[in-house]
Amino acid sequence: MISIQQADFDLAAEYQALRADAPSIGAIVTFTGLVRDFNLVESTPENTSVQGLFLEHYPGMTEKSLAAIIETAKTRWSIINTRVVHRIGAMHPGDQIVFVGVNSAHRGDAFAACEFIMDYLKTQAPFWKKELTEEGERWVESRDTDQQAAERWKTD
């Protein structure tokens, strides 16, 4: 299940759906990303306070790239199902931005697949963040650490 939506999401509902999938499920791993109140972009070390965020995306390609990321995860790990929710539009500090949930018979597979999906989403899925700070709007710069996180999963 992939959902791109303006509305907030309910982690409990996502979790219950993952729990109900199959009686062989022994492990559920969830990741939730929240809007922080400070900025971690390396190019702006001053940690300017963030008042709001705007999430833009590329409709069509977003869903396609997330589906491809999930397919890759399913070939690499023994997982049963995944749920990915990514919000778009205006958000505020403390708001939920993204949810990735994975269920599996085994905890190792659930952890690895969930982190893999997040790392690839961060570098492959066409979302862009614009921050509203005390000094005005600015597009968030991509981070080298995100690129490195995704590189870790490369197999030769």
Partner: protein, 83 residues
């Protein structure tokens, strides 16, 4: 005709989110299309000269040597920052 989309900072710089372009052999790869767009001068030259520019063809990430066919949807955008 090909459809070209611009996103995020790039769309702001170009003051344009979308355009249609007549297809020809002069724009049948990512690199050639980029050259053609840059040749328009300011603000195109600067905005598209970023080392970190990404490109997709038909909604799949593509490298500059990717071929472009008539009817394709091509997009240019900065590195992604979702999640």
């Amino acid at each position: 005709m090909i459809k070209i989309l611009y996103f995020a900072r790039l769309r702001d710089s170009l003051n344009r989110g979308e355009e249609q372009l007549e297809y020809s052999a002069a724009i049948n790869t990512g690199e050639k299309l980029l050259s053609a767009l840059k040749s328009r001068g300011a603000p195109w030259q600067d905005a598209l000269d970023k080392t970190q520019l990404l490109m997709s063809v038909n909604q799949t990430m593509a490298s500059p040597d990717a071929s472009i066919q008539d009817g394709d949807e091509v997009a240019f955008f900065p590195p992604v920052t979702g999640g």
